[in-house]
């Protein structure tokens, strides 16, 4: 594990230095990343220009959902999001080289093209989260305060696991890689909003099939003391770490199976 972390940091630093060769590009990338990730928050602000409450939630409450989803997503994206480029490695034949090197294949693919600009999103989401936490009307108990870091960490692992699962799918269908964007980027988009804007069946699917509801929706129901549209038993609201762990185990197993059955394109 320590080896994997060291390899990851080394690769990330190498990619950062490579990008720094183009300083104008690096600056524009970082600034635009800050703005692009802020765009979704601006949309929420615009929506609240037309209404004081949205689906039963106030502006700070929706921003709380936005911030928790954004922070989790940003950490997962910066650290492991590059696995979505697996298809390109397979097509170009570079995945063969990766397998030959004495470091974990997942680490190498995850650190590929690492760019500090992706942390721009983390800063932006964290600021929104901070403002939301400060302005939200919540009766802060020890339990509610403790849930916040737990949900962010669980959310990060859920997003990370989805990314790895999505990448593994590219062993089967490299060309159709974009399908998995619906789960990762789409997951980030949908968890910025209260899930009760969706129909019940859609919420069920996002709870039990692609467990995005555990990223922030279910823990947030507890923190904000809101009713659950599915009327699930109360302990489900605290199940996020368990779900994250389970999903990571599944993702690791699927990844290993994928690597084991990988056949080079031969080019």
């Amino acid at each position: 594990m320590a080896d994997a972390v060291r390899a990851y940091c080394l690769l990330a630093w190498t990619w950062t230095r490579a990008l720094a060769q183009y300083p104008a590009s690096l600056t524009m990338l970082t600034v635009s990343q800050l703005v692009v990730t802020g765009i979704d928050a601006i949309v929420i602000l615009f929506i609240f220009e037309h209404t004081p409450t949205y689906a039963g939630f106030s502006l700070p409450e929706v921003m709380f959902l936005y911030g928790t989803s954004g922070v989790s997503f940003a950490i997962a994206d910066a650290t492991i999001g590059s696995v979505e480029r697996l298809g390109r490695h397979i097509r170009a034949g570079t995945f063969d080289v990766i397998l030959l090197r004495p470091a974990s294949a997942l680490v190498q693919v995850a650190a590929d093209q690492f760019s500090p600009r992706r942390l721009g999103k983390l800063v932006q989401a964290a600021v929104v989260l901070g403002v939301a936490l400060a302005t939200m009307d919540v009766d802060w108990t020890v339990g509610r305060i403790a849930i916040v870091p737990v949900m962010i960490l669980s959310g990060t692992f859920i997003f990370g696991a989805l990314w790895v699962l999505g990448a593994t799918y590219q062993f089967l269908a490299g060309e159709a890689a974009e399908v998995m964007n619906a789960a990762t980027y789409g997951g980030n988009f949908v968890t910025q909003y209260p899930l009760n804007i969706l129909g019940r069946d859609a919420i069920r699917a996002l709870t039990w099939v692609i467990p995005l509801a555990f990223v922030n929706w279910l823990p947030a129901l507890y923190i904000l003391d809101q009713p659950d549209p599915l009327d699930l038993p109360a302990p489900v609201r605290f199940a996020a770490p368990l779900v994250a762990l389970l999903l990571c185990v599944i993702a690791a197993l699927v990844w290993r199976t994928g690597v084991r059955h990988y056949r080079s394109t031969g080019s």
Partner: protein, 265 residues
């Protein structure tokens, strides 16, 4: 002209081969269409009409704009096919081909848009229509105007991306400029929210900028938001942006050609 038609045709054929990738993109665009639709449905529950759209129009707007992402391609930032050629210096060859550089790339881009329309525009619209009541144009002049507006939207989008590509040529790297271009396009095209929902002067400004001509205008044409002369005005606006931006592109191209610098050995 024959040359450009040949380029266009071969571009259609080349891009039509990426069917699995296009359909995967269509799938993701469709999923986002549903999510955006539900975001708007929750908002429209507070009022029946917002920014001149009723709920049906708002939902149609979501699936329509999600469908147009593929062919309009304004969120590609620059011209991805050229990015690698800029970094390797191959663009120097392209600039000295015995064909008009801009015309060649425009023909290629229009060719790209044809299969993108079939594979990426129709699925989101059809999926949306299966679940929701969507609004279709009800008059023949609107049906005539829609393909014109979509084609012009592609030309305006191309002319923006062409300028981005030229800027990238001067910086030897595409990533920075095109990421800025993507941000502007996301914000001002209408893909986030219909532009009339933007507050105050920002909404007015957004509708005057060229990015509105790439998604907001064709969607409004489709939804029948323009009547009679307004329809001509909307299309005229698209033509104006296309002419101005292509003109700037031509001008800058000659300047770039005079200071081509080839990297590497």
């Amino acid at each position: 002209m024959r040359l450009y038609l040949t380029v266009l045709r071969s571009s259609v054929r080349r891009h039509a081969t990426y069917r699995a990738a296009s359909l995967a993109g269509a799938f993701t665009n469709t999923v986002f269409g549903f999510m955006r639709a539900y975001v708007l449905i929750a908002l429209w529950q507070t009022k029946p009409v917002i920014g001149g759209y009723d709920l049906t129009a708002a939902i149609t707007f979501c699936f329509l704009t999600q469908g147009l992402i593929g062919p309009i391609a304004v969120f590609q930032g620059g011209l991805p096919e050229m990015a690698e050629r800029i970094r390797t210096g191959d663009i120097a060859l392209d600039l000295y081909r015995p064909a008009d550089f801009q015309g060649w790339l425009l023909a290629t881009d229009l060719g790209r848009a044809v299969p993108d329309f079939w594979y990426r525009s129709l699925p989101p619209m059809l999926a949306g229509a299966l679940v929701f009541d969507l609004r279709l144009p009800d008059s023949p002049e609107v049906w005539l105007a829609v393909p014109v507006a979509i084609t012009l939207a592609i030309v305006v989008s191309f002319s923006i991306r062409y300028l981005v590509m030229l800027a990238a040529t001067l910086l030897f790297d595409e990533r920075g400029v095109s990421s800025v271009a993507v941000v502007l396009a996301l914000f001002f095209s209408g893909i986030l929210l219909p532009l009339p929902l933007f507050p105050g002067w920002l909404g007015t400004l957004a509708q005057l900028l060229p990015w509105a001509a790439t998604l907001q205008v064709p969607a409004d044409v489709f939804l029948g938001q323009y009547q009679g002369l307004e329809l001509l005005g909307a299309i005229g606006g698209q033509v104006a942006w296309a002419v101005v931006l292509l003109g700037i592109g031509r001008h800058v191209t000659t300047r770039v050609r005079h200071r081509v610098e080839v990297q590497g050995g």
